[in-house]
């Protein structure tokens, strides 16, 4: 798919998001969360390119979300809070990445899981600081100094999420085309050769890991500032699993996949929960099973295959 076609699709998607948010006001929040998760899943996609699956990226999402919750009283502006919390998540990603980038496959996945569960316990147990399982309320934030009404705030968060989605999507696209991004699949297939080109495979993975932590952090801040409430559940392994789920559902082939996956996931969740209250997870499970069995490229791959079939005719 050409870069131009992808941009057009992204713009169409953004227009659809805005239109839906206007027509069905309660979807505005759902779509903001979907975009935030899409940003976090972009990071998962980078790791998937290197053949690695992290079952612990909720750690970075939750870390940034809590940073936003704590920071909002001192730095009450969204436009400052967002990059700051992202950088904190990236710094944590660097510290942890130095360690986990030595491992591959199941060890990489499980180490990430273990660390995120440690963080989850800390959030739960240090009640005096974190209010435990009750979580923290996030104060309302301003946007470039402007305080907004509740309605304005929700539109502003949607805009922030859209801009973050475009920014991170464009950056990841550029990154994947660079040697550093191209070498990710080399980590998956041929580390030996990479080393014998003079490139340390570990650093290639570490760079992607730090970027993925940053993206998870950005997603986390948007989640925190939109829901206005953070709980340890954000760091629980099911949240990490959800990110991987969305990555597989959307497909790792392109930067639009994560957003497609996140939108499908959140919308299915909302509607399925309304229709079959107790069985919505089963519905999602069935969808994932079908994707894995019949469309390993995810929704994005499915769309591309359809487009390719239509072109020659």
């Amino acid at each position: 798919m050409s870069r131009r076609a992808e941009l057009v699709l992204a713009l169409l998607g953004a227009a659809a998001v805005v239109l839906l948010s206007w027509a069905v006001p309660w979807l505005r929040f759902v779509l903001t969360i979907a975009l935030a998760k899409g940003v976090a899943v972009l990071g998962i996609l980078l790791l998937l390119r290197a053949g690695q699956v992290s079952f612990g990226h909720a750690l970075y999402l939750a870390l940034a979300a809590y940073m936003a919750a704590f920071g909002a009283s001192r730095i009450p502006d969204t436009l400052l809070l967002l990059p700051l919390a992202g950088i904190v998540a990236a710094a944590a990603g660097l510290a942890i990445g130095l360690f986990v980038s030595r491992y591959r496959g199941i060890f990489f996945g499980m180490l990430n899981l273990a660390l995120s569960m440690v963080f989850y316990s800390l959030l739960e147990k240090f009640y005096a600081v974190t209010r435990g399982a009750d979580g923290l309320r996030v104060p309302a934030t301003t946007f470039g100094g402007a305080a907004l009404s509740a309605e304005g705030q929700s539109w502003a968060m949607l805009c922030v999420a859209l801009i973050a989605a475009f920014g991170s999507g464009a950056f990841v696209k550029v990154y994947l085309a660079s040697p550093l991004g191209s070498a990710l699949s080399a980590v998956k297939t041929r580390e030996t050769r990479l080393e014998f080109m003079g490139v340390p495979a570990r650093l290639v993975l570490l760079a992607a890991y730090v970027l993925s932590a940053f993206l998870a952090g950005i997603g986390g801040v948007i989640v925190a500032l939109s829901t206005r409430h953070v709980t340890p559940a954000l760091a629980y392994w099911t949240t990490s699993g959800e990110l991987v789920f969305i990555a597989v559902l959307g497909g790792a082939g392109g930067v639009l996949g994560p957003f497609l996956g996140a939108a499908a996931y959140e919308l299915t969740r909302v509607y399925a929960a309304a229709l079959v209250a107790e069985a919505w997870q089963m519905a999602l499970g069935a969808v994932l099973l079908l994707v894995i069995l019949f469309a390993p490229g995810g929704l994005w791959g499915m769309g591309q295959a359809l487009a390719a079939r239509r072109r020659p005719a």
Partner: protein
């Protein structure tokens, strides 16, 4: 001829098997040295020791006069030592040109996320290297879709794109069908000679050895059993019996 690579008293045993039992060898700058010998004689072990994958229990390896034992493969690449592999190590999901461009990027600056891998200068250089190997037409092919002969050539092209002074090749022609084999070796030798690269290669095909090596080293049980110009070494009855596995009565050069 000054030595570019010198091995002194290399020893390495795996359990009871002596893969290197006192290897002394000098490879001159610009020389093509073939290593022959039966399976298990320690040929690949020598390559692996020289390229930083295995550490001998005793001895030293000097490259350009400096000791290199203990340096990681990564460091050796920056010193100008390249290698190709018995089983080609290509990035299967990437095109041939991208495989080359990654090598060029590794040499020129790998770490900027804002420089595309396929930027024109790197692309052109990748194509130029492929053209030297006569496989420019494969440039867009995915590496995992190549046939064995082409994979071997691309694997060596990747090593050459790193601009080495010394290249070690582990069986550059194994797995390649007879007719293609000579063509591949012709190309290889031409490209390496043009680039002024010193080459050490493990080879089983005596026709290839006889035609392209300046000197031949015969490996046997971790030692160098014979060393010299190909016509001399390959004519040695003991070498012919033990290594090549033919009756001393036959003429090895009949085919060549």
């Amino acid at each position: 001829m000054t030595a570019l690579l010198s091995a002194r008293g290399l020893k390495l045993a795996f359990g009871g098997v002596k893969a290197a039992d006192g290897i002394d060898l000098d490879v001159g700058a610009g020389e093509f040295l073939a290593i022959i010998g039966p399976n298990g004689a320690g040929k690949t072990t020598f390559i692996n020791m020289t390229t930083g994958y295995l550490r001998p229990q005793a001895g030293a390896i000097l490259y350009d006069g400096r000791p290199i034992l203990g340096l990681a493969p990564r460091r050796l690449v920056t010193l100008g030592i390249g290698r190709s592999f018995q089983l080609p190590q290509l990035f299967g999901e990437h095109s041939v040109a991208e495989n080359l461009a990654l090598a060029i990027a590794a040499r020129e600056g790998f770490w900027s996320p804002f420089r595309p891998l396929m930027r024109p200068v790197w692309r052109d250089e990748a194509d130029e290297v492929l053209a030297r190997f006569g496989i420019l037409d494969l440039s867009e092919t995915r590496a995992d879709a190549l046939n064995e002969g082409a994979r071997k050539l691309v694997d060596i092209a990747v090593a050459v794109a790193l601009r080495p002074r010394l290249i070690l090749m582990d069986e550059p022609t194994s797995g390649v069908a007879g007719a293609d084999k000579m063509a591949i070796v012709e190309t290889l030798v031409r490209v390496l000679r043009d680039a002024g690269v010193t080459a050490v290669f493990v080879e089983h095909d005596m026709e290839v050895v006889g035609r392209f090596a300046d000197r031949v080293a015969v490996w046997a049980q971790g030692r160098i059993a014979a060393l010299g110009p190909p016509d001399e070494v390959l004519a040695d009855p003991a070498v012919r019996r033990d290594v090549i596995g033919i009756d001393p009565g036959e003429d090895v050069h009949a085919a060549a």
